[in-house]
Symmetry: C2
Subunit: 325 residues, 2 copies
Amino acid sequence: MSKTALPLDLPLLADDLHRVEEELRASVVTEDPFLTEVARNLIVAGGKRLRPVLSLAAAYLGVGTASQNVVRGGVAVELVHLGSLYHDDVMDESATRRGQPTANARFGNFAAIVAGDFCLAVSAQIAASLGVEVSGLLGYTIGELCKGQVAELQSLFRLDRAEEAYFRSINGKTASLMSAAARVGAITSGLATEQIEALTVYGQRVGMVFQIVDDILDIVSTDEQLGKPAGNDLVEGVYTLPVLRAFRDPEVGEELRGMLGAPIERSLVDQLRKLIRASDGVEQAVGVARGFADEAVSALGVFPDSAVRTELAGFGHSLLDHLPA
Amino acid sequence: MSKTALPLDLPLLADDLHRVEEELRASVVTEDPFLTEVARNLIVAGGKRLRPVLSLAAAYLGVGTASQNVVRGGVAVELVHLGSLYHDDVMDESATRRGQPTANARFGNFAAIVAGDFCLAVSAQIAASLGVEVSGLLGYTIGELCKGQVAELQSLFRLDRAEEAYFRSINGKTASLMSAAARVGAITSGLATEQIEALTVYGQRVGMVFQIVDDILDIVSTDEQLGKPAGNDLVEGVYTLPVLRAFRDPEVGEELRGMLGAPIERSLVDQLRKLIRASDGVEQAVGVARGFADEAVSALGVFPDSAVRTELAGFGHSLLDHLPA
């Protein structure tokens, strides 16, 4: 999967996505050029803007257009995502993201933490202008992000990590904000309650697919395809669904568990990834993700058939179809 | 000044302050015991709860009582303060606060950053339940906090730090949130616009006094009085109002500037503090703070005379009167 192209082909969103990008860049401009520069570090590095795309697509699905409030809702959601990435990069001591030096690498931890807080602050201001429902939702979702991160932290290097704990963690880390993105698009478009709930479920399910695919790519991709060292999750002690399933494989499970459970040398990563690929862990993880993709399709059943619905319905499965063979 | 007693004698707030404390402790309880423990680390360490006190006092001044919404507003403001302290301690690599090990020292930077984000998230949820005005205000104020911190960062070790930059920085870092605290109390009590604005100004001005006093204490207090090493601002390169004024002193200014402007050995701190105290820097800073305290008194003029008004009006000046001789 390319890091920039999105397997969601909705050319009718292009103009609105351009508006999102402009609003996003303008949102963090302050009278302080330094703060502006740090807070834009990650914005100008680009990104798929998947969350605003979900907000816009929800609006198009429901009312056939995206109002200025939908655009601003997408910006507010993306700012939560960016704020969490600033903090992630400090927590993980990452030097690059999206091929660019991170804010912590360029400007130090102090500036990077403040930039993350500032993104959250600007997001909260935009959310307030969209009403208490959006404000409350984003506050709730940031809390879910925190819970997901802490859950992951506690599971590091644990061979006995329960799948349920994995699902809770990726729901908090990823699916909750994608769900919120779709929900914000629905709320700011004035959709009916049933439609809002359907899009909330849809966003959550494609978020689960998205994260499981990300976790599978760490096992099956090359460094080049990934744009970062593959197998990084194994090094960091994050045992994801394909790995947890491989642990149970009668052929390789025991050997794999023997090699993991504690920090490893990076030189072991290729061998470990090969072992996991020799198991049926990846295939099983794909199967689980297909289940979530199916539920995403079902959720959209409350909407009449349309080109937008077809494209959204296909999103989860297309993420899985684009996995390297 | 003791670190726990507050020179604001309002016994009628005691019950409400107890409610604030209970709500505060309950607000960060989650299904994850670890997250709960990290997020409560700073809460259980105690604190003056000055910001909720301002919210409650604003309510008593305006309507003679504090509703549940005022209590919850005070909690939301205090959570912003606590969230920023979690992040401050990571940024400053602090090992203790309020005499207790910091979250970063106990649980690592990862958990401490998440705990700070979580406090902001819970605050945003409470704020949303109080309406868009409170939500927007807190989002705005977190942005001001960030601006104040970045402004300070850029001025470190600068002998040519402008006083205006100092005032902007302490407004963002401290006064903006104390202003928001009073404003939230006024808004959630349904006060008239004129009264809301008056309390907003009042909170800002006492916030300026509070921070200038804090900056003076770094020069005039002992380690014991302060509960932390005195002169820390000098070591960190934060040149505050008494120091900026001492730079201009004809007797000691030149010597002082010669010794500062770059990182120093901690062993030089006593000599530096003595030099500053030999100047009229502290006295001038007290004079500037008195000006802010006077403006705080004036702002309350829109309210009829009452015991609460007298106590609030005296707050700024009493902070200055409690400075060590």
